[in-house]
Symmetry: D2
Subunit: 359 residues, 4 copies
Amino acid sequence: MIVVMKQHCDEEAIEHVLSFLTNHGLSGHPSRGVERTIIGVLGAVGPAGTPGSMVGINPALGEALESLPCVESVIRVSKPYKLASREFHPEDTLVNVPVPCVSRGAVSIGSDSVIMMAGPCTVESEKQLMTTAQAVREAGAVILRGGAFKPSTSPYGFRGLGEEGLRLLAKARSEFGLAVITEVMTPTDVPMVCEYADILQIGTRNMQNYMLLDEVGRASKPVVLKRGMSATIEEWLLAAEYILSQGNRNVILCERGIRTFEKITRNTMDISAIPLIKQLSHLPIISDPSQGTGRRDLVTPLSLASIAAGTDGLLIEVHPNPDEALKDGAQSLTIQQFQELMPQVLAVTQAIGRKVVTE
Amino acid sequence: MIVVMKQHCDEEAIEHVLSFLTNHGLSGHPSRGVERTIIGVLGAVGPAGTPGSMVGINPALGEALESLPCVESVIRVSKPYKLASREFHPEDTLVNVPVPCVSRGAVSIGSDSVIMMAGPCTVESEKQLMTTAQAVREAGAVILRGGAFKPSTSPYGFRGLGEEGLRLLAKARSEFGLAVITEVMTPTDVPMVCEYADILQIGTRNMQNYMLLDEVGRASKPVVLKRGMSATIEEWLLAAEYILSQGNRNVILCERGIRTFEKITRNTMDISAIPLIKQLSHLPIISDPSQGTGRRDLVTPLSLASIAAGTDGLLIEVHPNPDEALKDGAQSLTIQQFQELMPQVLAVTQAIGRKVVTE
Amino acid sequence: MIVVMKQHCDEEAIEHVLSFLTNHGLSGHPSRGVERTIIGVLGAVGPAGTPGSMVGINPALGEALESLPCVESVIRVSKPYKLASREFHPEDTLVNVPVPCVSRGAVSIGSDSVIMMAGPCTVESEKQLMTTAQAVREAGAVILRGGAFKPSTSPYGFRGLGEEGLRLLAKARSEFGLAVITEVMTPTDVPMVCEYADILQIGTRNMQNYMLLDEVGRASKPVVLKRGMSATIEEWLLAAEYILSQGNRNVILCERGIRTFEKITRNTMDISAIPLIKQLSHLPIISDPSQGTGRRDLVTPLSLASIAAGTDGLLIEVHPNPDEALKDGAQSLTIQQFQELMPQVLAVTQAIGRKVVTE
Amino acid sequence: MIVVMKQHCDEEAIEHVLSFLTNHGLSGHPSRGVERTIIGVLGAVGPAGTPGSMVGINPALGEALESLPCVESVIRVSKPYKLASREFHPEDTLVNVPVPCVSRGAVSIGSDSVIMMAGPCTVESEKQLMTTAQAVREAGAVILRGGAFKPSTSPYGFRGLGEEGLRLLAKARSEFGLAVITEVMTPTDVPMVCEYADILQIGTRNMQNYMLLDEVGRASKPVVLKRGMSATIEEWLLAAEYILSQGNRNVILCERGIRTFEKITRNTMDISAIPLIKQLSHLPIISDPSQGTGRRDLVTPLSLASIAAGTDGLLIEVHPNPDEALKDGAQSLTIQQFQELMPQVLAVTQAIGRKVVTE
């Protein structure tokens, strides 16, 4: 942490800051410039031995310092997340998921392979789900997506089939050998969703639902954490830190677009987040171009762009008849469109020296 | 709903849309222009007799229509919220809250009076809370704010005293006669918070935590619903609709700043939301300039601006010693600053022909 | 400037940075922490004796430092603007404008008085302008606004009457004693606009049209500099610095809304910019709630909010018949609405201890 | 255009709108719903025979309609641009640029080939430019970028060598056979820049500098139009329409990132703009990942993502010694990094069935 003093403040003010730091168990190192003095702060707080003890200065102290009369600003130097950071954990994390339909019986998300996840936005019926599951499996997907609990902006929208949807997902898994990813929306549902799903998904609106993060952090299943629609990358990694700090180290980040002023697309996919996350963190990152654009006609180009930028997987909405989807039909690919996407995915993946796990 | 056809599409495509509409129980009324045809859609869906039956077309149908090959776009005409709209409920909603310290024994939020709510960001100790409660009451506040459950961006930050914090708030109420507002973060905590608080607060990160909205919608206490940090006004009113549709009609909206590219302030307060909400909805709206700016030195001007724009109340963070606050000290007023704010609040309130309830 | 080294970098890397700094005439002062070292940088560059020599480190040096392999980040401490800063010029700047219709013959923008500027978005005809000028003068405005050169998002939109519009503005001045403010869009037009206008306006789209800023910086008339629609406050003050550094010290900033994701309003007025500019700069700041909201029904509440937050003036669009305006009719007040606004402006201005110059 | 009436407005109000439309040469076609009436508007305005006559309704009329008391909102159906739209001009526009160093003597931007443009952000010296030009040519670039006139956020920053810079660019062209692209910042400079450059560049800050757009619209050289940093896609295409409507049909759009709340990157590249522009317009689009990210380490992944999404070219900043660049060193690739980028570009381009013109 660095304290920037106001211009021409006197020695007494500097001493005040230094003693404030000492009182809080820190030490200050002033550099006196012609126009102003800056004070480097060393030492760390947080209960000793906890990850918090390593993540630098308590943010409340920074704010308190900023309130002192002669302080211009306080600049944080250390990253506020630790377990999620590549500095702390230099090797890539691989998240292993059992997938009966592939020869190895499992896939590693975050490895040199790109993982294809596809399925309907929402589980609507057995027929819809089974048709889609079979088709995406045949085209090369290894993980089936499908919402049983769906956040809906309007209270009058469709909110999913609930546990019945989970049962259908499990049935599709046993029939086609796909692993299953599905959203969990509230802490009390976590045990039930864990019974049926292979990967838990935290949706964009719940990225900062801290009690839910705590709960999935205590679960035994991997978690896909979608970026909040207006979250900075730092906030996103702090949300991952919540899960990691409860003991669950199998966290996969998912870029799904951020909110901007542009009106033609539902969100603006931040493709630069993919290589940035790879730098800042050891966690895998996947892309959701269906939510990320909100438009079926942009799913293919943004899928390929995600792969070219280094994504570890794609999460694609596919519906056997999007015109009749109960939710998000406008952004779902048809089965044929998904079939046409796959060879393009394979070609770009190969061009950047990675591969796609399909069997 | 209006369907805009692509340029120069043929009669068959138009017929296709019309029969799609008929199949879904709607009727279409085409206007054929030189360059393109538009189709007005009449009729409404949703289970008969429910509010949903009145809020126009199922959004999924709009998306399905948008997917048809000859459709350029689909434009929604009706507002997607109903119970929250002024069209449905033209008179202002008054939310009554029992306040022992005022002569009438209660205040009406949304009336011609501006209501002052103040207190610490977070309940830290009995001494801190009691000192603040007494001071803000003496200065004219009638509702005490204070967090017992606190969302923290970092898992290593202070997350509040929990039920002990609620007990201290209740003690402050019985001692000083202030009503109490405090945040509830997860559905299972709602009954407990209702035992202690007079008003439940839904924080910005939980504006779209739908299961929490459902739960407070079934509670018997009024709810302050903070705007999500990147929520549009429409999404905010839809979140209010969730609460209203469960039966709780005592919803108060709270503008607390939105996220923009500006870096000097934590958020950008959208003062225009105050008069806009008054037009679109019958619900009261209050302002939180502490969260809305993140800077103590901006709280007073933004408080006065909120009042001039028509706010029904102010929610102000006050701390007896902000330099030592465990959370958000940088945006808390000192007790003296709050005392200095009050006469300015009174003057501007009077200038626009309203009053402030202080006793 | 502060250089933050990567974690655990070796002494050689630190020496490399120190010698880099020495080579560029600066000195570095390292503070060695347990996890990382930070280096305070002292000394300043820029041709001696110029304002540049005082504004701290050349930004290119910062970027070069950031490129060094062991550098994590470079943090700028000094503000990048100088002439616009309150640190450099602690007293408020007053911009004097001759106004024949007031008893003193002039007004001071930035003083304890709020200045009312009103008129049509665009000068459309002699009749339209004269009617409006007379009405706003009678209601208490002292400066007449009106565009002769108009930026239009579409090349097929109305782009103003050009010099004929300027002549009509001058005529309105001689008839009603109002000062005139009007936009200039390109450097070659500056001399012509100076002949007719009392205040030059730089529009939001031209906030970073640097050659235009240079040119008005050499002009003898005051300049109203509108905030760019996605400009940060720092960029805005740097744009002011362009004008100031050419010698023109009569710069007035104008908040006119920024672009956000909200769709109901054209822009989101950043009311917090008003008190922030007062802190950071000595320059006056006025508000444009017509452009800032794009909706006539929000002009009055946002005018009052601006005054409560400390604005030095209001720039209001008024049209005798907004339904027939050639441009921006939806945000223009009618004459009657402007008349109704004035007493409210007077009341709120008085409530905060300022006054309005009307005669 | 569609007029949405307020709920339950009476027949008289509908008649008022219909006669308003008739008075302005348009016809209205009401659809009366249970809750509200909508009125489809047919007919077009603008001087007959001009492109304006085809682009639908004058926007001022829409605003005037919106001001009528019983009108809820006015919805525009037609796109406001015409010459830039794919509806008007279904075939892809190819922009031909003479390039001495390739065997055909020219390249076609917008064809099945991706065009590589590279060079320093700013021309600093003959040695810097020649070194870079030779290196990027040898690596496969065919167009040389380099700024002679540079927009600088601070008046104390480096603003380029001016005409001397142009001369050096022309020298590099004659020496290495590269075509030259360089920025023009003000209308009066257009003829001079045309003398030296093969492609004129309009920078992000000038996207809505309409007099500059008019002037390059009358020039004989192709124009690269960068997206404004907070421009919507529609505004960007309208800016292109300015140039096209003056007669210059050789317009190339350039995505260079938009402003969001994210702080780690300078801008957020909107990769979805690439396929969207291809749908909405016939104009070529290129990508600038250097400006688009502001970070050297993101240039390669965002280059590859742009290609995968369908970009027609890349504009890359390369500097022989970025640590000493006078401008934007932090985002410039070294020569070696550019050499390493090229084979990756070739691989991804091939994977999507296109090629790169290098000779």
